[in-house]
């Protein structure tokens, strides 16, 4: 008894359909899973053809060559289960198997990205469908050098993972290294592409070394730079690697604007990054240890504001930041129709009421709000999380040692970032090691001109070649 029949008999696969046709004393078994296959394709192109069969001595070979399907394979019995769960219809004739693609996996349509918004440029984004995602990239890079290598990972999930790169730009050694790492993954299953990050990234930095994106234009841009992308079935997030620290200050619509505007907004992002990490700790430091840093008029103002607050500055800051993080987390999880309640609670209770009650000083609200808004400039949630972590560390250090503690914290952050590698490439590139050509698209974007490619990513040096 074959493997599929066993499934039918023990009644544990209720969406498995079996149809038996007898032609010329030959029994033809047709198997498919109705939830992931297109029944009209099966009816129109497989059943009709089989029903119209005349006496043929070799039905198996006849069907293989004559069924009007582009993707039809001769398979062994042991592979029949794998193909069945991947949306193929299995045809068994005299213990020989054919797998015919009739896949119709449920997926959502292409829509605009929720968290990677842009004012100008394309609006489409990836979805959970493997082929759709590849199609969105191929639509942009119509070149036979755009390669796709697919491997299957996950003992139970059998998830397709595609590695895309442009042959002639990308370094093949780097690509081979990534594929080797992926092939070594031994796991029960992969649910999202984030699962792959832990296998591909082996450093302890909180800053992300593999960029996730939902935007096909950004992915295409990265491929043209010589980067490698990983697409996983059932995940709308495409992985771009290697990714450098500077990449998180670049947004895809930076390239759709004039260089001057792009440079300006990138500097704003850098300032926002510094404010997001340092502002609360700086507030704690100057109000507890380094009071002489505050101009007299501001100092008098601060003393007035803090006169009714019963907590030390550190505790006050800690409470406010913790409250904000709780608010943000609940805002993400809450259904959209409950968002108003969170806004009212957050805006009124944490803001106005806490100040009126004398629990929190108004300046504290300003500090936390500016810091929180600054951290939300970044699209990557990993960057926001890294900022949050370092913000807490710096607050603790500043509450113990003032500005000296902040200096120590900054040294720790720089040490952490410089020690980080993204697939063995320096994370701080092009600043460390210094590469002046690549810095033309660093924090300052120089006017478009013929530029060399990133030497870490490509041997094909001049763009346009």
């Amino acid at each position: 008894m074959n493997e599929i029949n066993k499934l039918l008999l023990d009644n544990s696969f209720s969406d498995l359909i079996h149809k038996e046709i007898i032609i010329n004393n030959n029994i033809i078994d047709i198997y498919s899973i109705e939830t992931i296959t297109n029944s009209s394709t099966i009816n129109d192109f497989i059943l009709k053809k089989i029903n119209n069969l005349k006496n043929d001595s070799n039905l198996y070979e006849y069907l293989y060559y004559n069924l009007p399907c582009i993707n039809i394979k001769k398979i062994d019995e042991k592979d029949s289960g794998y193909h069945l769960v991947n949306g193929y219809t299995i045809v068994r004739i005299n213990n020989k198997y054919l797998a015919i693609e009739t896949i119709n996996m449920p997926s959502r349509s292409i829509s605009e990205s929720d968290y990677e918004k842009s004012i100008t440029g394309p609006k489409d984004s990836f979805n959970e469908h493997f082929n759709t995602n590849i199609g969105l990239i191929r639509k942009r890079i119509k070149n036979i050098n755009l390669k796709l290598e697919t491997i299957t990972i996950g003992k139970y999930t059998n998830t397709s993972v595609g590695i895309m790169y442009i042959n002639g730009i990308c370094k093949i050694k780097l690509k081979d290294k990534i594929i080797n790492k992926l092939k070594q993954i031994n796991t029960d299953g992969l649910i999202d592409s984030s699962y792959l990050i832990r296998y591909l990234s082996n450093n302890h930095s909180l800053f992300p070394t593999i960029k996730k994106t939902e935007r096909p234009d950004l992915v295409s841009q990265s491929l043209l730079e010589g980067k490698i992308i990983i697409i996983m079935d059932n995940s709308p997030d495409i992985l771009i690697l290697p990714s450098f620290f500077i990449d998180y200050f670049h947004m895809s619509d930076d390239y759709y604007q004039k260089s001057f505007n792009t440079s300006f907004i990138r500097i704003i992002r850098l300032i926002a990054f510094i404010i997001a990490i340092l502002l609360p700790s700086y507030y704690v430091a100057i109000t507890t240890f380094n009071v002489d840093f505050i101009p007299i008029n501001l100092l008098v103002n601060l003393i007035g504001q803090r006169s009714s607050v019963p907590f030390p500055a550190f505790f006050e800051t800690f409470i406010m930041i913790l409250s904000f993080e709780i608010l943000r987390e609940s805002d993400i999880r809450i259904p959209s129709n409950g968002g108003t309640a969170v806004s009212i609670l957050g805006g009124l209770v944490l803001g106005d009421a806490a100040v009126s009650a004398g629990i929190i000083s108004p300046i504290m609200i300003i500090v936390v709000a500016i810091s929180a808004i600054s951290s939300l400039v970044f699209q990557s949630i990993e960057v926001v999380n890294a900022i949050r972590f370092w913000r807490f560390i710096l607050i603790v250090l500043s509450s113990l040692m003032g500005l000296y503690g902040i200096s120590l914290g900054i040294i720790l952050i720089i040490n952490n970032i410089t020690d980080t590698k993204s697939i063995d490439e320096d994370y701080l590139f092009p600043f460390s090691p210094i590469n002046l050509t690549e810095q033309k698209d660093g924090f300052i974007k120089m006017k478009e001109s013929i530029r060399k490619r990133n030497p870490l990513l490509s041997n094909n040096k001049i763009r346009g070649n």
Partner: protein, 199 residues
């Protein structure tokens, strides 16, 4: 090695003084005079600073044989810790002698919590000047008259430098008599209190 480094960084970093903003008495302006026996300090400090109220100042007067004693007494009289980093104005008595200058400079140089970039003037009636006029008024008065080459803007740092390097320096004499009144500049040279009044 890393742990040793971290411990060294933390333990050899020197003292860090925790200061609670609510427990500070910020000194705004000070005036120092000396009669034959002892020094007198007039300190204008911020009184209770409350939210939604304009901050008010009070003047505390203390006496002591040394400058250090003056500030210790000021601390005792004030309800909170005296905070000297934000002094705006130092008013020196017209009759201070060279030894008095040396004492004042000695104290201010050795106090690590002091910044010596505040404005310095002379007055023959410090208490009245502090009571009747604000720092901003005096500052504006000196700066506006400096434009027409009359008053002299000099910080305490410049006085220290010139005093220690035996260079002459001039300070403006300002009194209050219904309004601010400029009474001339006094130049000190060779560390002698040989004053030249130049109008």
């Amino acid at each position: 090695m890393k742990i040793i480094l971290i411990i060294l960084v933390l333990l050899t970093s020197g003292c860090m003084k925790y200061t609670d903003l609510g427990k500070l008495s910020i000194v705004k302006n000070i005036g120092i005079s000396h009669d034959n026996k002892e020094y007198t300090l007039y300190a204008e400090i911020y009184d209770e600073i409350k939210k939604d109220n304009d901050p008010k100042t009070i003047i505390i007067e203390t006496k002591g044989k040394t400058i250090n004693e003056l500030f210790i007494n000021l601390n005792l009289l004030s309800q909170k810790e005296i905070f000297l980093s934000h002094i705006d104005l130092l008013i020196l008595d017209l009759n201070l002698e060279e030894k008095n200058y040396r004492d004042i400079i000695d104290y201010f140089i050795n106090n690590q919590y002091l910044r010596n970039d505040f404005l310095c003037i002379l007055s023959s009636n410090i208490e009245l000047l502090l009571k009747k006029s604000q720092y901003n008024e005096i500052d504006n008065y000196i700066k506006s008259n400096n434009d027409i080459k009359k008053t002299i803007i000099i910080s305490f740092n410049e006085i220290i430098n010139n005093f220690l390097n035996n260079k002459p320096y001039s300070i403006s004499l300002i009194n209050y008599n219904d309004k601010l009144e400029f009474l001339g500049n006094y130049t000190y040279y060779n560390n002698k209190i040989e004053m030249i009044k130049n109008d």
